[in-house]
Amino acid sequence: MSQMSKIVRTQSNIIFPFITIFGLYVIAHGHLTPGGGFQGGAVVASGCIMLLVAYSSKWVLEKININRLSVFECFGALGFIGTAFFGLIFGGWFFNNFLVRNGILFNVVPEFGSTLSDFNTAGVLPLMNFAVGIKVIAGLFVIVLVMGLASSAKEWKQ
């Protein structure tokens, strides 16, 4: 598909940072507020896809290499399963939450009841949120990018 009009492109340029920031916020505060890695990742990925629609997939391909994106996704997946393996090594069980109560980071345990947003809680959960977030951003973007490329390649043939 070809590029869309200048108005659309400018608007998406303006909105894109806000969408990304919001998505990253949702990822980072997954253990405190509604949301998490999947939801935030989907938000950021939809921002990226908005750019893909406004500028063509060809334009995006000049900026980003698909192979590199899918490697990025591999790293997200490895981070997630790696955290699980760290649980096995440090905590003694697969998927153990080894950071809570005895780690350096994210080790605070809140009292039962209503608390304010203390970011430094929840053990390995924020790490997993980040890993999944990276994975979902890269994964969803790759899927749409590949499908967009395939459909535009067909248009060129005709």
Binding site: P34, F112, A150
Partner: protein, 123 residues
């Protein structure tokens, strides 16, 4: 409980019917995919509906009202169905992506999305 309160479940069943109807009786591949998506939404709605507790709020303690915390867990909706639905939604996205890319290729090869024509050219 009276019938009135069952409206969400009736909505679930209606969605599943619409989806099944599309899958079983429609001839267009994209319509079949839409049907599967609708069934999936119906099942997701079913899971979420199972977890609702009368007057409950979201099961999150960040800045929760003290009234809610005092009555916990009775004042919060069930969290497990929400987690299951989250998983199920992601699964739905993956299946949808794969089906749509298959459809793109099928259209490339056959030049049509009609099930009858695709089957006709096969034998």
């Amino acid at each position: 409980m009276t019938m009135m309160y069952n409206i969400p479940f009736i909505a679930v069943v209606t969605m599943i019917f619409i989806g099944l109807y599309a899958v079983l009786f429609k001839r267009n591949l994209v319509k079949i995919v839409i049907g599967i998506s609708i069934i999936e939404s119906g099942v997701n709605l079913f899971l979420i509906t199972l977890g609702y507790r009368e007057g409950g709020v979201v099961p999150i303690f960040t800045s929760a009202p003290s009234e809610v915390v005092k009555n916990a867990p009775g004042s919060m909706v069930l969290p497990v169905p929400q987690a299951l639905t989250l998983t199920s939604i992601v699964i739905g996205v993956a299946v949808l992506a794969l089906m749509l890319s298959l459809i793109m290729h099928i259209y490339d090869h056959y030049g049509t999305l009609d099930v009858r024509k695709i089957r006709g050219s096969e034998e």
